[in-house]
């Protein structure tokens, strides 16, 4: 049971029950759809970007507590970040979950509560799904920009 409290920390349970920035965004600058073929979970991530800054992130989808809370916390962590900062945070979060340490990793702040998932390897994908989907949405903005 201690392991369960470690994994499902109060913050996680709270974000799961009351996800922040939840719901589809009208006229997003970018959007991506992600899914976890293992469990069939799906998530949509919507972005508003202005002058290279992530102005707003919203998500929608059906996922487990890890997936939902990770997505919810992600939206809070990314809002107001520059694209470069957002990328750095994504990479650092990914590194931390896969036990890799890189010199340019940035502090995870509140996201650190999700690291308990490392002890449950099959669930790591649940924690990273929203982030990969965000990454895909961000790339799409850049591609759109670069093709102009």
């Amino acid at each position: 049971m201690d392991g369960m409290r470690e994994l499902y920390q109060q913050v996680i349970l709270d974000h799961n029950k009351n996800p922040r920035n939840y719901g589809a965004m009208e006229n997003p600058d970018s959007f991506a759809h992600g899914n976890n073929p293992l469990c069939g979970d799906t998530i949509d991530v919507f972005l508003r970007i202005g002058n290279g800054i992530v102005e707003a992130v919203q998500f929608e989808g059906a996922g487990c507590a890890i997936c939902t809370s990770s997505a919810s916390m992600m939206t809070e962590a990314l809002t107001g970040k520059s694209e470069a900062e957002a990328e750095a945070l994504f990479k650092s979060f990914h590194h931390a979950l896969t036990d890799v340490a890189e010199p340019d990793d940035v502090p995870l702040g509140k996201l650190a509560v999700l690291l308990g998932v490392k002890d449950y390897p099959v669930r790591v994908k649940c924690a990273t799904l929203a982030w990969h989907t965000f990454e895909a949405a961000l790339k799409r903005v850049k591609n759109d920009v670069s093709t102009e």
């Binding site: 369960m4 499902y8 349970l13 799961n16 469990c39 069939g40 979970d41 799906t42 507590a65 939902t68």
Partner: protein
């Protein structure tokens, strides 16, 4: 294995499965995932091990003692499968890698040469992916069309729709005997009879059927029946295709190679007789022998007795879980066997699965390779507790207690 009163002695059965001596997270293992793979009894483990230490050699191609002994054991296993299904002939029992390969074999060797654009294959909405995708492939290859019999809210086949969909264009009906996602026991007798009335052959996916119900392929008059060894207390990597001799006889080989030939010349090759024509290459010898021993073991306990025992567990689990307000059972067909699928309001099945595991309880959480079923019920996944001959009421009690704790945690 019954006591003097003739009642089912589950503890005696259970004691034959070495896995139950282990603990998970400090708790005795509570294994409610037999629908994915059943555990193996001591005799299966020992038989496979003994084969490797005493008799192991290739089959059908050696005059030396070990090869003859291996061949005898391998062919002996085929006879056990034949008897278990009450097939008419050994020629009708093809060893494959599993139910999946068996369906693919029928799709490619039976259906593909026959199908023309506009022909139809009729399956049901509750099939496992392994009884959907092989038909989609063959439809792509031939221009045939895949038709699907819908299911109702309880997870039963809509038989009226079945009769409407069954037409002159239907070239084969494929359906699951017992659904691995819902537990529904399908009226395969009725389906086979009405398909045959129109001259249409039927393939039954018995992956969950063979472990939970007596199967008599002659009484059923089924054309193809497939199952996997690992769900019938045997090893992985071995499965069975039963096919009527007359149908198999007319089918071209599925794969080419050794063992499936009589003679090979560059001008042309003469194929082997049944069943070997469909077993190209060195087969899974230890898998087949292990499966044969597993069937012996099932026969010692009695498949009817096992079914009665499991039915009582399904009923008990259904009753106990339904009594919990937040729990909804998915699949409430009148005839169900082997498992209970459920969801908890506000808790994702993955979280249920991880938390139950912390109590030493193994269940399956996910779409059970039956995504169309999940879609039909408007969910992404379920939690599934599935039973075997060794499952107990205490295990159901542990499940129910733990489910309540899950609700407490996430509420």
């Amino acid at each position: 294995m019954s006591d003097s009163q003739g009642t089912y002695d589950v503890e005696a059965v259970r004691s034959r499965f070495p896995i139950f001596s282990r603990e998970v997270h400090g708790k005795p293992l509570c294994y409610l995932d037999s629908g994915a793979s059943a555990q193996q009894p001591d005799v299966v483990i020992d038989t496979v091990s003994q084969l490797h230490s005493d008799q192991y050699s290739n089959v059908h191609r050696g005059v030396h003692t070990l090869s003859m002994e291996s061949t005898q054991l391998y062919d002996g296993a085929r006879e056990k499968v034949r008897a278990y299904l009450n097939a008419n002939s050994l020629k009708e029992i093809i060893f494959t890698r599993g139910a999946t390969e068996s369906v693919n074999l029928v799709a490619q060797s039976y259906a593909r040469p026959k199908l023309q654009a506009g022909d139809e294959i009729l399956i049901t909405h509750m099939e496992h992916h392994s009884n959907i995708v092989p038909w989609q492939l063959v439809c792509e290859q031939t221009g045939a069309v895949l038709k699907v019999v819908p299911i109702n809210d309880r997870g039963e086949l809509e038989m009226d729709a079945f009769y409407e969909l069954l037409s002159e264009r239907t070239k084969l009906v494929g359906l699951v005997h017992i659904s691995n996602a819902l537990g529904t026991v399908n009226p395969i007798e009725e389906v086979i009879e009405s398909a045959h009335a129109k001259g249409i052959p039927v393939l039954v996916d018995g992956a969950q059927g063979a472990p939970h119900a007596p199967v008599d392929v002659q009484a059923l008059d089924v054309d193809f029946y497939v199952f996997s060894g690992h769900k019938l207390y045997g090893p992985t990597g071995i499965g069975v295709l039963y096919g009527k001799e007359s149908l198999l006889e007319a089918m071209p080989p599925y794969q080419g190679g050794g063992d499936m030939i009589l003679s090979v010349r560059f001008e042309g090759t003469e194929y082997n007789t049944l069943p070997y024509r469909f077993e190209a290459g060195t087969p899974n010898i230890s898998g087949a022998v292990g499966l044969g021993r597993a069937i012996d073991f099932v026969n010692e306990i009695g498949i009817e007795a096992i079914a009665v025992h499991e039915d009582a567990l399904v009923a008990y689990a259904t009753e106990q879980l339904s009594a919990i307000e937040e729990v909804t059972i998915i699949g409430t067909a009148e005839h169900r066997a082997g498992l209970v699928s459920f969801v908890i309001e506000g808790v994702h099945p993955h979280d249920i699965g991880t938390m139950l595991d912390s109590y030493g309880i193994a269940i399956r959480a996910g779409h059970h390779c039956a995504q169309p079923v999940m879609e039909r019920f408007g969910i992404a996944a379920t939690a599934r507790a599935s039973f075997g001959m060794y499952s107990t009421r205490e295990e159901v009690d542990r499940l129910v207690d733990a489910v309540k704790k899950v609700i407490g945690m996430f509420a």
